[in-house]
Symmetry: C2
Subunit: 412 residues, 2 copies
């Protein structure tokens, strides 16, 4: 039978009623003739609670124990979903990551999927089981310890399963009914997109749009998985959601497809770094080793052999970055006067594959922000996106102004 992957996010399984509602959707697809692999997140709020406890114990935690703790929420939902399906007479059972086994790297709390053997689950499908409920977000390292894939990792689990089982489609059920031109909470002009290109979705995801985890989109692009974002809370028939697909499947699009923002970004500045060949490697090597996800990097003009180096990273990695820099300083690998963290910033990004063929997008973006009196602190660009750091207090204003300027409320 053809295989369908259905992933339910935290709000879609927040309580038993919602799990029942999700299970009914699964039942419909089983009746449609699919063998279904259901990927579940933790019930909403659970993972935050677990992360909160870990943080309360230590900000510099052992990621192996962090993973052992935070992976538990998904195990709960997987079991509850299997029970709910059984109660509806749908043959189902749950799998935890290590039972599949979903094998990952040993990079705890940011592990990458290495392999998903299909034998165990396929055997059960062959025996008549119709739904395999798999705990998302988690796997097992070669050392036999529980790993997690990073926040939002259940999306990646879902796409990886869709690729491994050559699923007909991978439906991501969530609390929004698709991908929007920007966050509808920031402007009511935000418009749902029927289709979006993998590349655009990738940028939006990595820039803070919370709809899909970045790596899930990367994986979908690489294996050409048909990925659909769809709401758990609307009737299925009214709800086509947004299809994330290859660029050639999209006829027309705006120059800019969406405006993303992230408030979880910190600006770190190393003051008066001794400038010499190899200094960038000496700084960013230890940061990478410490698991700090550096995003933007700016190096000031060097004066008298010293320079300032600015970079951005997620706010919750500031302590880790500071420790890594202090370590490199203590080992004599780098030399700097001070490390200043500014956590009161936000990142605003404009994204669109149309930028490739259209010039002037950056200029329009900068002028729009300038007209609103918003100072730009850091700029970074790629082929299809432009990102800026601004004071956090201007975040909503910046998003609204850019959404208007690029006329995202109108379809192409």
């Amino acid at each position: 039978m053809p295989v369908l992957v259905m992933k339910f996010g935290g709000t879609s399984v927040a309580n038993i009623d919602r799990i029942r509602r999700a299970a009914k959707r699964v039942g419909v697809e089983v009746a449609n003739g699919y063998d279904v692999i259901v990927i579940v997140s933790a019930m909403s709020g659970r993972t935050n609670e677990l992360v909160g406890w870990v943080d309360e114990i230590s900000p510099l935690y052992d990621a192996r124990e962090y993973d052992a703790v935070v992976s538990s929420g998904e195990n709960v939902t997987a079991g509850l979903m299997a029970l709910t399906l059984q109660e509806m007479d749908v043959p189902a059972r749950s799998w935890q990551g290590w039972q599949v086994p979903l094998i990952t790297t040993s990079a705890h709390s940011a592990a990458r999927i290495e392999e998903i053997p299909t034998d165990n689950i396929s055997t059960k499908f062959a025996e008549g089981m119709r739904v395999a409920v798999v705990a998302g977000f988690q796997g097992i390292s070669p050392e036999g310890r529980v790993t997690t894939l990073g926040r939002g990792g259940s999306d990646t689990t879902a796409v990886a399963f869709a690729a491994a089982f050559e699923a007909e489609r991978c439906d991501i059920y969530t609390d929004v009914d698709g991908v929007y031109t920007t966050d509808p909470r920031v402007t009511d002009k935000a418009r749902k997109l029927d289709k979006i290109a993998f590349e655009e979705m990738l940028e939006l995801a990595s820039l803070g749009a919370k709809v899909l985890q970045t790596r899930s989109v990367e994986l979908a692009m690489r294996y050409n998985v048909r990925l659909r974002v769809v709401s758990s809370f609307e009737e299925q028939s009214d709800n086509a959601g947004t299809l994330v697909c290859a660029e050639e499947d999209i006829m027309e699009s705006n120059v800019v497809s969406g405006i993303a923002y992230s408030r979880d970004e910190a600006k770190m500045t190393l003051i008066s770094v001794a400038d010499r060949p190899g200094i960038a490697a000496a700084i960013f090597g230890p940061l990478s080793d410490a698991g700090v996800n550096v995003d933007m990097i700016i190096q000031n003009i060097s004066e008298e052999g010293r320079t300032d180096m600015t970079f951005s990273c997620p706010t919750n990695q500031v302590a880790r970055a500071e420790k890594a820099m202090q370590g490199a300083k203590d080992r004599g690998e780098i030399n700097y006067h001070d490390l200043v963290a500014d956590t009161d910033v936000a990142k605003i990004s404009a994204v669109g594959i149309g930028m490739r063929s259209q010039s002037g997008v950056a200029a329009k973006m900068f002028k729009t922000l300038s007209d609103e009196g918003i100072n730009i602190k850091v700029i970074a660009t790629s082929e299809i996106k432009i990102s800026v750091l601004v004071d956090r207090k201007y975040m909503e204003l910046a998003v609204q102004a850019l959404h208007d300027a690029f006329e995202l409320d109108k379809a192409a």
Copy 2:
């Protein structure tokens, strides 16, 4: 280094502060030169919450999924405890049941421990790790699925580890400071026992005293594990707790050592059963197969080839018992007029090894209850205990009256 097992119950790890407090106790024993195996329960309330969700989905749940769900609470505590110890510079790591691996039977939600290989943990001790934090209550079946040992199973986990690692002692840290002659909430005359014999503890545990799980005491008795019940909430020096030990280590004891009660008992009566040879097996075989823990059994005098058969079982197994009996009836294995469940009863028991050498204990118990106007519904006795079922409204009164009658407020 000698090994010590320390088990912390749910209230002892109810929040991060309490986990820190427990970790400090562990740190003291590490400083004393022990390699410590810490067994943790779920944070208090967690397991009930998980069980509640399962019950909400289906009262006749698949025990394999139940186990997958309810075992998650212990994984959380194990990771948090390991992190807390690391933060105190005590080398520690967590183990989930399947990682040990703690191998059990496939009797889900009431599995028995088959084997605890010591290699993995011993290797880590040899490498300098000082504390292995193990998630209690759970194991892995030969089929590779998560199993649980039944409520209170973490005590059994602790004793089994103490036996496997030949630990010097197994300390059960809990919210009471020892074993009492009866529940202090029922009478303020309840008195803490310094020592209690394995056999007595076994009866008290199986009769509803919540201090230790029955099987943990069985195991401790079989492997002669020195078992100590001690409070997490008092200063260690003031807190000798209660030592559970062999009968010969106790010099003097009262005829009755304790009065236990259980409100989670239901009285089931099969009305007008066709009486024939093998009828008991035809009734209690299916109940056993359905996982119903039958305690007391009474068969009425047979009249005209028919009789009433009464038995007691835990209240939460009533639905299961009814289903098992209906099934046996449908298959023509038994024949009865009606099955009546009375869940408004309580079981009261008097326990003491002194009963072996002293007569008249039963008579005194029945007279005491009669003097209080309490009707006895079912009686069951063993060598060292007498149990009765009474209306639940008389439960506290019965316990108080018996505690007075056997003068349990006075030491032997």
